[in-house]
Each structure stands twice: as C-alpha cells, then as structure tokens.
C-alpha cells in the first residue's frame, strides 16, 4: 500500500508549488486533529466509494460528478455544468486555496456520504488527488 508520511520540513524542501504548500498545511492540520498517516490508495477507494442516499435512493460518489479520472473534466450530475479536472498537475488552480478545499469537503462529503468527512478521510482524499 502506498503511504504518505507527513514530514513538514521535508515537504517544505521539496514543495515547488503553492498547491503543495497548501495541501501540506492541511495535512498537518488534520494530523493535529487526530489523523494518522495518509494513504493514496485509501483516498482512491474513498473517491470511488458508492453510497446510496437514504432520502432519494440515488447512488452517489465523488465520481458521479468528477469521474474516476482526476485528469479529466467532469460534469455536475444535476445541472450538467462542466467541472474542471481535479488533478493539480492538469489544473493548477486545484488544491491551491485552503478555504476552497474546506468548503468543498463540507458540501461534497455531506452530499455524497451524508455526513462530514473525518480529518483522516480528507487527508487521504487530498494525497490521492495531489498524487
């Protein structure tokens, strides 16, 4: 299993982009909230996990709007509005703003999973998306 060990000084040394800085800062914050190591594989599994919405019976997942391919554009499942790719290497605006990251986690975890994501889950998702 691919794991990402968080090391702030190392991360700062190798971080070449703003996105990396922002993600590393978020990962450190999640660990301060009790999260352990973060895993790309766990994040990927979470990204693809299908959950049946209790109220609507609709099958929901991150991929419903974003697709399973982080480098591809998605489409909002209700409105059809195009969604730019999630992978920062393809779309540098992604993961570059902590406020936006937390806003989307709040909205989208609640829609997809019916609850907020834990710090562990958010970190796993971030390392998967950044990977």
């Amino acid at each position: 299993m691919k794991s990402v060990l968080l090391s702030i000084p190392l991360a700062l040394l190798i971080a070449g982009t703003a996105a990396a800085d922002v993600v590393d800062e978020r990962l450190a914050a999640y660990q301060a909230q009790g999260a352990g190591e973060f895993s790309v594989a766990t994040g990927e599994a979470l990204w693809n996990r299908r959950v049946t919405d209790a109220r609507t019976g609709q099958s929901r997942s991150c991929t419903a709007c974003h697709t399973a391919n982080l480098s591809a554009a998605g489409r909002h499942v209700e409105t059809g509005k195009p969604i730019e790719p999630m992978k920062p290497a393809v779309n540098p605006k992604r993961l570059s703003d902590a406020r936006q990251i937390e806003k989307w986690f709040l909205r989208n975890c609640k829609w997809t999973f019916g609850r907020e994501c834990t710090p562990q889950e958010k970190g796993d998702l971030l390392v998967f998306i950044r990977n």
Binding site: K81, R99, L106, R107, K110, W111
Partner: protein, 180 residues
Amino acid sequence: MNRIYVNVWVLSGLLAAAGVALADEDWGGRRGAAVAPVQDARYARECGSCHMAYPPGLLPARSWQKLMGNLADHFGDNAELPPEDVAAITAWLTGNAADSPVYPRPQRITASLPDTVTPLRITELPAFAAAHRELPARLVSGNPQVKSLSQCSACHRNAEAGSFNEREISIPGYGRWEDD
C-alpha cells in the same frame, strides 16, 4: 458598481406569441444594452461553480433571502458556505434583485408575481412559465444538451451577462428560435 440590467425582451416576444401583447421596452427597457457588467466575483465563484450564476434581477429579494437561508438543502444538493460568504452574497443578491432600486421600473419578469408568493425557482415565475410555454419538450427535457429550463445559458447565449434577447437564442440541435 455592480449593476445588472436584466434584459428579458425574449419573454415579450414569446408572450406575444402566447397572445399577450407587450412592448419590447417593457422588458427591462434597455434595447441593445447588450450586457451587464461583471457580476460579483464572490457570487460567481461560490454559486457559479455548479450552475449558471443566475442574474439577481430574475428573482425578488425575498426569494434570494429564503434561498440563501437554506443552502444546506439547495434543491437537494449541499451548497453550504461560511457565514461571511452567505452574508455578503445575500446582500449583493438582494441589493440587485428584481424589486431592488437598481431598476428604474419594476421588472416584468416578477410583475405578475403576488407579494404573498416567494418562489425559489426562476422557472416558477408566472412570466417565465408563460414565456416558455410554447417550447416543445423535445427541445428542452428531451434535449441532452439542454436537459432543463433551468439551464438558461444552453439556449440564451448571453444569459450569464443578464441578457435574454430573443435574437441571441440558439437552441442546441435546433438553432434560432423565432416566434410566429
């Protein structure tokens, strides 16, 4: 200054077809005023990510107020925002709403709306329904590139800028829409 002029002459054309005679200038009153200035950046970013950033002049202030008060259940989606964003966007929407003082005259789109009704959807407005009544379903719900009447910009090419001029209509897979 954030002033949005919602030009809804297309509605007048469609209403005329439906037997309701209206003068063009009754619909927003700015013939040729192509486009409104740039919208509020925060509104465009926070609301326009998932759907077209609807011009605030398409709903009365009370509708925006109600809508912004329940973002956790936003037509079945979660659209929650930090309180300061909710406050700023609500202020901007209500300040530029159909019944706000930014418009010299009442907006036709909401003119036939009773004060006691607070629609949450633009498509619920009586004037909106009347204007789109003639459209066959195959061009809207049966059209994969349109899907729903809520996708203004699928056919109204300048909708995001607040312009709904009939001449700007191009229905995907069909083309220009002209009333008889």
